[in-house]
């Protein structure tokens, strides 16, 4: 018997005493936090709680806000269709990991922001780029539009497409491995700069 057949047979034998005629009790999953008037403010406050840099700007002021977020002379990589003019930025066309390691910063859009948990979700569409570009550089400037912010985790799960790779980001890279104290800055970007377009 193959391992597959044997494991499935063991599972079935283990469940032989389960009475299939009795359906398991339906337990509703509680709803998340409602959106409310303070949705965007709550999002910004919770992102800031993770010690991310949080700024807001207007659609017209976006390009300048992005430039202001980048240190002078920084080597910047951007996804193919960011839609924001970043002077001097390298457009990712399949850069190697070593190339990305030589970049100081990356600018991406996002798919969703979650207010309750201060989370940004990337689904790595054309304005966000493949997963590696928002991971290897040390500074991640992430642009979130006001209408992308949802209230809570259930809203996000319902909107996201699991067929795409997803990266949920809540603050900069961090660890609690030393005496269970949170320290920002391990392998992912040590600085997360969130720009909310009002």
């Amino acid at each position: 018997m193959s391992a597959r057949e044997e494991i499935l047979a063991r599972v079935r034998a283990a469940l032989a005493n389960v009475d299939d005629s009795v359906a398991p009790e339906e337990v509703p999953v509680p709803a998340g936090r409602p959106a409310g008037d303070d949705l965007v403010d709550r999002f910004l406050e919770r992102v800031a709680d993770y010690r991310a840099v949080v700024k807001t700007c207007t659609a017209r002021g976006l390009a300048k806000a992005v430039r202001d977020a980048l240190p002078e002379g920084a080597r910047v990589v951007v996804p193919a269709r960011l839609g924001i003019d970043v002077p001097g930025a390298v457009v990712d066309d399949g850069l190697t990991a070593a190339d990305l390691d030589a970049c100081d910063a990356v600018v991406t859009a996002a798919r969703i922001g979650i207010a309750e948990t201060g989370t940004i979700v990337l689904d790595h569409g054309d304005d966000q780029g493949r997963r590696a570009i928002s991971l290897v550089p040390d500074l991640h400037v992430c642009v979130v539009r006001r209408d992308q912010v949802v209230a809570d985790v259930p809203d996000a799960v319902a909107l996201l497409d699991p067929a795409r790779p997803l990266t949920w980001i809540s603050g900069p890279s961090a660890t609690s491995d030393i005496e269970l104290d949170r320290v920002e800055g391990v392998h992912g970007p040590r600085t997360l700069h969130v720009l909310l377009v009002r």
Binding site: V11, L15, T117, A158, P162, G171
Partner: protein, 520 residues
């Protein structure tokens, strides 16, 4: 201190200490290991500081959610419903993963799973792999198995790195180096990093940020060059063929994204039925685990994505005793576990002994039930000792995000351990005592004689005993012979000087006065 402190428990290993951690093989049973651990004041200080910190963080973020108890019910129900038809969900998962371009393997046990991973690495000519922290790969001893094949397995989680460099053993599910403080970690990095790759900077301090920075620099070169990565998964969604890894540092993202080949070892109980069922889990896990509203990074991937991440994706579905646990009607709830480690952090036993005393990669209350369920009882004294490593206070059940009734399973497993040893050629002291009690209690005259003997012992102790309980009642401090083990950590109250039946006779059922001859 000049050398990293080693746990007095771990056996010295030969071979290349820079590459692998020790193993739990040959660990003593819990009571012995626990008494040794309790002699280490530094360990107790580190543990009490760390668990105290995490308990406070958890209770703050859990208190933010008024729906928390309903979420726990929902989380438990999702896992229970999935386990009820696990075969169906596993087949669905396999079908979806395959459709998404992943290769699915099945592994009956640890050896089979390790062989699959080694074969994948070998087929790509890799002599090293980078690893995301994963309980499943620790459980199967993957690092040691790969080392035997000449493949170096680099742990990339900070705590796992500390354990690996220190040639140490993990002592916590979430923070395997919880038993180390910052000064010890600095010492390990300074003395051991150079042999494994990029050395620690000369001016390394014990500031946690500086230590994290040293780990970042040390591992970056490994991330950039690795061809093969190995991960586990926190969840595997059957409906969509999606794996989920929940992490903090970004080492997970590095491993899941940069190498060309990714192998994920996933316990068969990790399956979730639908994409939507991920929602309660992602609300329960981070708050229970690190005490955060959300962990820094969660990655999900469904097989291969052209132009993004690994070009070859393997998933190893692992049994290794899980079907044993599933067959146990009381114990199967342990398979709901999402490895948050909240039960460790609240456990009064864990807080004092630490994780090594449990002799397994799964320590604490969940380890005390999971190990016997996976391995079976009656085969090994170490495993059989674990269901007793608890005061049954119930704190673990209170905090469990998927409501595993750990005390219930502990008591159930204790009865299994007793049953498994009924036919032993050398009966235990406990079973002899129980047999003696049954003999005495089954006959009124025998009971009366025993009562007389016991009241005599009571009088002697009242007069000559030196140990007094709070309130003044005499007690036996430490009994000789077979009672020594029991009284080693407990006081045995002196028996009453008069039995109930004797008192009843003397006072005509309490009507003719007379002071009680029992406790003053």
């Amino acid at each position: 201190m000049n050398t990293p402190r080693r746990s007095p428990l771990r056996s010295e290993r030969r071979g290349d200490p820079e590459k692998t951690s020790g193993t739990f093989v040959g660990m003593p049973a819990f009571p012995e290991a626990a008494s040794e651990a309790l002699l280490d004041p530094q360990l107790r200080h580190n543990l009490s500081h760390a668990t105290g910190t995490i308990r406070a963080k958890r209770s703050n973020v859990v208190a933010e959610l008024p729906e928390w108890e309903d979420l726990r019910l929902a989380g438990a129900a999702v896992k229970d419903a999935t386990l009820r038809s696990l075969d169906t969900h596993l087949l669905r998962l396999e079908e979806q993963l395959t459709a998404n371009g992943a290769t699915v393997h099945w592994a009956r046990d640890a050896a089979e799973a390790c062989a699959i991973v080694a074969e994948v690495a070998r087929s790509h000519g890799a002599d090293e792999v980078v690893k995301v922290k994963s309980m499943a790969t620790q459980e199967i001893g993957l690092n040691e198995a790969l080392e035997a094949e000449g493949i170096a397995a680099w742990e990339t989680d900070l705590a796992e790195l500390i354990v690996q460099l220190g040639d140490d053993l993990p002592s916590h599910i979430l923070v395997p180096a919880i038993h180390r403080n910052r000064a010890e970690i600095r010492e390990i990095f300074r003395t051991r990093m150079a042999a494994a790759g990029r050395p620690a900077p000369d001016d390394l301090t014990d500031d946690p940020a500086a230590l994290a920075g040293a780990a970042r620099a040390h591992l970056r070169e490994k991330f950039l060059r690795a061809k093969v990565a190995v991960s586990g998964a926190n969840f595997a969604v059957a409906e969509t063929g999606t794996l989920v890894v929940v992490e903090s540092e970004g080492n997970g993202r590095m491993c899941l994204t940069l190498p060309e080949v990714l192998v994920s070892v996933v316990g068969i109980e990790k399956v979730l039925p639908t994409w939507a069922s991920l929602d309660p889990m992602l609300r329960l896990l981070p708050r229970s685990s690190t005490g955060e509203r959300m962990n820094p990074y969660t990655s999900t991937w469904s097989g291969v994505t052209p132009g993004d991440g690994p070009r070859e994706v393997h998933v190893v579905l692992l049994d290794n005793g899980r079907t044993n646990a599933l067959a146990d009607q009381v114990g199967r709830q342990a398979l709901r576990c999402i490895r948050c480690s909240a039960c460790l952090n609240v456990c009064p036993v864990y807080e004092r002994t630490g994780g090594h005393a449990y002799g397994s990669v799964y320590p604490g209350p969940i380890g005390a039930i999971l190990n016997p369920l996976l391995k079976g009882v009656g085969n090994d004294p170490q495993t059989d000792s674990l269901p007793y490593a608890s005061s049954l206070c119930g704190a673990c059940f209170e905090v469990c995000p998927v409501r595993i009734d750990i005390p219930e399973v502990l008591v159930h497993l204790r009865s299994q351990v007793v049953d498994a040893h009924r036919g032993d050629r050398r009966p235990s002291g406990e079973s002899l005592a129980m047999k003696g009690a049954a003999y005495t209690f089954s006959d009124a005259r025998r009971l009366e004689r025993a009562e007389k003997a016991s009241s005599l012992a009571g009088r002697v102790l009242e007069r000559f005993g030196r140990t007094r309980l709070p309130g003044g009642r005499a007690a036996a401090g430490r009994l000789p012979g077979p009672g020594a083990a029991w009284t080693g950590a407990r006081d045995l109250p002196a028996p009453p000087r008069e039995s109930f039946r004797a008192w009843w006779r003397r006072t005509s059922g309490g009507t003719s006065g007379g002071r009680s001859g029992g406790t003053p």
